[in-house]
């Protein structure tokens, strides 16, 4: 895994993400309350906070898996404003820019590993089957899973499945990657395999927003730490600084709870 995940220079057209005054309700419940946040191109932002704080919902708003009720989101040069109807074309354009990795991997179980990575390329980038599969094999090789290419995801461990999911998203040349608790469903020693790949991706200069409980990753890899509680950002800044010296009581309690586990 020494080869960087992204070497093709022209493919690394990175974008930043600008979230302003974002709000989201589920029924009467205000899950995101006037969130504003800027993610610089090529930076890694870690989102932490107790469960129910709205961090996953915030992440899912970035690629419109959730529809925000107020505010706006800008990815690269594309802006989506809440309340305006999003055309299918714009929705697909946004999702083309943004790759996402889920806690539960969500590989397609009826496809082989290779088809999981190649099929979206054929449909979305219009690549031929040969081209898409060749690209898929290269990427699988880079995360050490070349020999799994012709198996079904069900035969792979959780850590392997999550690395395949990362590769599936990367194969589409996203300009931003979202990670929604990518290691929470994994045993710690398996989670490391996934974190290693994410670290390489960060080193390669990918813009990343990561919802995580992995404090070491947040401190060592992320450039910016955002702490959420009750649908609001309660604190943000330099990860090491906040962890050493939390400015808010809520942050302190959360950090000590996570670190004591």
């Amino acid at each position: 895994m020494n080869v960087p995940l992204i070497t093709e220079a022209n493919e690394l057209a990175i974008a930043g993400v600008d979230i302003s005054n974002l709000s989201k309700r589920f029924g009467d419940n205000l899950v995101l309350d006037d969130i504003s946040m800027r993610v610089k191109p090529g930076s890694v932002t870690a989102l932490i906070g107790p469960s129910g704080s709205g961090k996953s919902t915030l992440l899912r708003c970035v690629n419109l898996l959730e529809t925000p009720d107020g505010g706006s989101i800008t990815v690269g040069s594309q802006t989506i404003r809440a309340g305006e109807r999003v055309k299918d074309k714009d929705l697909l354009a946004l999702r083309r820019q943004v790759g996402m990795v889920f806690q539960s991997f969500n590989l397609f179980p009826h496809f082989t590993v290779l088809r999981n990575v190649a099929f979206p390329q054929e449909r979305i980038l219009g690549r031929s089957r040969e081209e898409a599969e060749a690209r898929a094999r290269v990427l699988l090789e880079r995360v050490g899973l070349a020999e799994k290419a012709d198996q079904h995801p069900g035969k792979c461990s959780g850590g392997q499945q999550q690395r395949i999911a990362i590769v599936r998203a990367l194969a589409l040349n996203p300009r931003v990657m979202l990670f929604d608790e990518p290691t929470s469903a994994l045993d710690p020693e398996v989670g490391v395999e996934v974190l290693t790949v994410m670290r390489e991706l960060a080193d390669a200069g990918m813009t990343m927003i990561v919802v995580t409980h992995e404090m070491q990753f947040a401190r060592d890899v992320s450039d910016h730490l955002v702490v959420m509680a009750d649908g609001r950002i309660i604190e943000e800044g330099d990860p090491a600084e906040i962890m050493a010296n939390p400015g808010e009581d809520r942050t302190r309690r959360f950090l000590s709870a996570v670190l004591e586990r």
């Binding site: 690629n63 999702r95 943004v98 397609f108 179980p109 009826h110 099929f119 449909r123 979305i124 079904h152």
Partner: protein, 213 residues
């Protein structure tokens, strides 16, 4: 005995024809109905739900009578085979729509989400990502339905379709002193001979698909 066997077997092609045609109509007709049941538009959902419940709420034999005796436009009237095929076909559409819907409902929501997040459109998501998985989970129910349709096709005999049961009944009536229940035993045996291989094949297919999953 030999005569009874021959006469009942002469009805076999008709039994198979009614079953296969009705099943085919159901397999195809179930798709738009299932999409309607999953529609984002409430009115469409309600209309399809109403249609499915209406079709399933009335006994098949009553539907066949309604179609066969009820549809007369001028001199036009459905012949008994068409009435049986379309009647059972429409009923199959309703049952299979419900089976398809159940197959989709068991899929984890993450599948559709992952597909959307990758940027795949709604149609590709349904046809290439969700449907193949839903079909696999519904396969045992679809096979079970086929078996019950094979047997239910015998109600076509009540409107004069010359299937196995029709022929068995005729034979019994024409030979009241000698035939007894023999023709019906023969019909039962033939139904079993067809059903059992279908059931075995379905089970094998199911285990094989589960393994690759």
């Amino acid at each position: 005995m030999g005569d009874a066997l021959l006469i009942v077997l002469l009805g076999l092609p008709m039994t198979l024809l009614v079953t296969v045609l009705a099943f085919t109509i159901g397999l195809i007709g179930g798709i738009p109905l299932m999409l309607g049941l999953r529609s984002r538009t409430r009115a469409v959902r309600l209309a399809c739900r109403f249609a499915v419940d209406l079709i399933r709420g009335v006994p098949p034999i009553v539907w066949l009578f309604l179609l066969y005796f009820g549809i007369t436009i001028g001199a036009f009237r459905l012949d008994s085979l068409s009435a049986a095929v379309w009647g059972l076909g429409i009923i199959s559409s309703a049952y299979l729509a419900e089976i398809y819907r159940g197959g989709f409902a068991t899929l984890p929501s993450g599948q559709a989400e992952a597909s959307a997040a990758l940027g795949l459109g709604r149609t590709v998501t349904i046809t290439r990502v969700l449907a193949p998985q839903a079909l696999r989970t519904s396969l045992p129910s679809i096979a079970t339905y086929l078996l019950s349709l094979l047997k239910d096709s015998s109600i076509a005999s009540t409107i004069g379709v010359a299937d196995m049961v029709f022929n068995a009944t005729m034979f019994a009536r024409q030979n009241p002193t000698t035939a007894g229940i023999v023709p019906f035993f023969i019909a039962a045996a033939v139904y079993l001979v067809i059903s059992i291989p279908v059931a075995i094949t379905a089970r094998r297919l199911d285990t094989r698909l589960r393994r690759t999953h």
